[in-house]
């Protein structure tokens, strides 16, 4: 009897994990794999909704055109600039605020709750809110600066050549620093307190405790937090779209892809842009994980 049931139970054992994984695999296939494959396919076609022609295969034509597209490269530069500056500022502010909350200051419970508010607001809402606050005639920011005597007349922050990107970065930092604080705080709280006591007995001054103990032990957490923010920043769309949607000065690669796909109805070219956005994000993640040697899956 044992000999009869053994092969069957082996077969069940082999099939069981796949049965359990099936729902997730089907969902992933329909919402991720299929759209990605479809986009990749379209990126090799000339396909426009404007001219009523059927899509036709043009090989790397879209990609070659893209390589010579000044607006695309401008969007790449904008995205890189935005990602590097905003993530750097968010990391520095995040570490500073997390250290503050982690120390034994009074009212840190309230501080922790208040701090999370910007992050809890949907991006489009907070972007619109800042749009109004930064308005050149009716905005509270300009009103305040005029009252304090820093400026004589309202500045169109989100429209100006030099100020639009700065405004977007400022709003992004305002909005996502809490996320960094939260992750970094969790990282700080798993560092055993007695390491700091040992360091005190060892005579390590405050700066040395930070650089020799806090930072190395925080690094695994910090590296993952930075990766999350970096990927978010590279595909950033909503903030720039609401604050200064038409401006070439602030268009990111995601905005550029949308512009080709939706505004210009150029499905083939837009798909090529989308594929490049996808590849760039993958590349950034791969390089970053290589450099920082972080382990996303614990062993």
């Amino acid at each position: 009897m044992m000999a009869e049931t053994a092969p069957q139970s082996n077969w069940v054992k082999r099939i069981e994990p796949w049965l359990l994984l099936a729902p997730m695999l089907i969902v992933l296939a329909t919402v991720t794999a299929w759209p990605l494959a479809r986009t990749a396919y379209l990126s090799f076609m000339h396909a426009s909704l404007d001219d009523g022609d059927l899509p036709r295969f043009i090989g790397f034509g879209n990609y070659l055109a893209l390589m010579k597209d000044g607006d695309w490269w401008h969007a790449v530069r904008n995205t890189a600039f935005f990602a590097v500056i905003s993530v750097t500022l968010e990391t520095l502010a995040g570490v500073a605020i997390a250290l503050l909350i982690d120390s034994q200051i009074k009212g840190r419970g309230a501080l922790r709750a208040v701090m999370l508010i910007p992050w809890a607001i949907p991006t489009v809402v907070s972007a619109q809110m800042w749009q109004w606050m930064l308005h050149d005639q009716y905005g509270v920011v300009n009103a305040l600066l005029i009252k304090l005597g820093f400026i004589s007349h309202g500045i169109a922050w989100t429209a100006g050549a030099g100020t639009a990107m700065a405004a977007i970065i400022a709003v992004d930092v305002w909005q996502t620093t809490p996320f960094m604080v939260l992750l970094i705080l969790a990282g700080l709280q798993i560092i055993p307190r007695d390491l700091y006591e040992a360091a005190k007995v060892d005579g390590a001054p405050g700066w040395a405790q930070f650089f020799y103990i806090t930072l190395p032990l925080l690094w695994p957490t910090l590296a993952v937090a930075i990766l999350f923010r970096l990927l978010d920043a590279v595909r950033m769309f909503d903030l720039a779209y609401v604050l200064s949607s038409k401006s070439r000065e602030t268009a990111t690669i995601s905005i550029y892809a949308r512009q080709q796909l939706v505004d210009f109805q150029d499905v083939g070219y837009g798909s090529a842009v989308a594929m490049l956005v996808f590849l760039m994000i993958s590349l950034v993640a791969a390089i970053y994980i290589q450099i920082t040697k972080i382990r996303l899956i614990s062993e």
Binding site: D194, K200, V201, D202, G203, A204, P205, I213
Partner: protein, 377 residues
């Protein structure tokens, strides 16, 4: 190396007083053990000496100098933490050298000290490993090594053996005793384990609820506990403490009743009124019939435990009190048997209603019961 003195050291966390005026003198080169139950303030006292806790009152002197507000690093002490507190991202060498870097000690001197400590502690082969790759015993030795290289005036140990398994604990205990002999340094050691206290200490400080109960050599505390707390805390199994009533004191004798049973003890202390309640203490291992005057207590055997080298008999007295008797070797009796426990009168401790010892005892060979036994053979 230096002596250390505490005078009226107090510590409060908010409204909670954890140390109520500690006075203590620790001589240069002495091995002092703070022992007491959880929450007695022993670790807080150690941390106060280290400078990791600010004291709320009193003075701490190291080598004659008041160090109340001196930061830990400048007190020239080294501390071994219960969790070892090794820096997990640094290898063993760097862990040990870390503190010396900030003391502005030249590189070759740091190297010399680290390698010397490593060879004393047999860590030469693992200098380039990280703490995560070490065994519990090795981590413990790295923590000690980190203390040694500082060449401190005093070593502070906070329950250093509590994370080790039983066998390793005994080994490490012996290593620490040897280390103390070799370095001749002042060592202060906190533990709740009385075996560690008895085996390591030159001087034991028994703490309870933020106060010192007694300070003395291990044998002082064993043979002449100053009060009920120390009597019950030192010794395992714990001393039998029986409630008794004084019925008469006359002709250098005290007559007592324990429940319905009457015992008599030689007594020449302060006058005691008949009817006073006292506590009679007899260690389980002292229920050994001798030649001189003795105290006999009768009861019923509740349980017998055979440990091979000793047998432990739990007796229930008529009034419900339990006493423990420990005999060397085997004893043959079973639950329900009537049993008379017999101890020399000289082995009896007596405590007044306030828990203070009433018989002015000194430890020493004249008193040691087992010592007498050995001499008799």
């Amino acid at each position: 190396m230096a002596d250390l003195s505490l005078s009226n050291v107090r510590k409060a966390f908010g409204a909670l007083n954890v140390l109520h005026g500690i006075d203590l003198k620790i001589e240069d080169g002495e091995f002092v053990v703070f022992v007491g139950p959880s929450g007695c303030g022993k670790s807080t006292l150690l941390r106060a000496i280290a400078g990791l806790e600010d004291i709320s009152g009193g003075d701490i002197r190291i080598g004659g100098e008041i160090v109340n507000h001196v930061p830990p690093a400048e007190r020239q002490i080294a501390m071994v933490f219960q969790s070892y507190a090794l820096y997990p991202h640094m290898d063993v060498y760097t862990n040990m050298a870390f503190g010396l870097k900030f003391a502005k000690i030249p590189k070759d001197e740091i190297d010399r000290r680290v390698r010397k400590a490593a060879s004393i502690l047999k860590l030469d082969a693992v200098l380039d490993r990280k703490p995560g790759a070490l065994s519990g015993g090795q981590r413990q030795r790295v923590a000690i090594g980190r203390a040694i290289v500082r060449q401190p005036k005093a070593f502070l140990f906070d329950e250093p053996l509590s994370n080790l398994d039983a066998a390793l604990r005994v080994n490490t205990r012996i290593e620490i005793a040897k280390l103390h002999r070799e370095l001749g340094a002042t060592m202060i050691y906190v533990t709740h384990d009385q075996v560690e206290a008895m085996t390591l200490a030159d001087k034991i400080v028994v703490l309870n609820a933020g106060r010192i109960e007694q300070v003395g050599t291990p044998l002082d505390l064993y043979h002449a506990p100053a009060n009920l707390f120390v009597a019950g805390f030192i010794g395992s199994p714990a001393m039998n403490l029986m409630e008794a009533r004084v019925s008469a004191v006359a002709d250098g004798n005290m007559k007592l009743s324990v429940g319905e049973q009457h015992i008599s003890l030689p007594y020449s202390g302060a006058p005691v009124a008949p009817g006073a309640t006292v506590t009679v203490g007899i260690r389980p291992e002292h229920w050994i019939p001798g030649d001189g005057p003795s105290v006999k207590i009768e009861g019923t055997v509740d349980l017998v435990e055979h440990l091979g080298e000793t047998s432990i008999v739990y007796l229930r007295l008529a009034d419900g009190q339990m006493i423990t008797v420990r005999y060397p070797g085997d004893i043959f009796c079973t639950a329900g048997d009537r049993f008379v426990a017999d101890a020399p009168a000289a082995a009896v401790h007596l405590f007044d209603a306030a828990g203070q010892a009433m018989l002015g005892r000194r430890s020493g060979p004249a008193y040691g019961i087992l010592g007498q036994e050995f001499r008799a053979r």
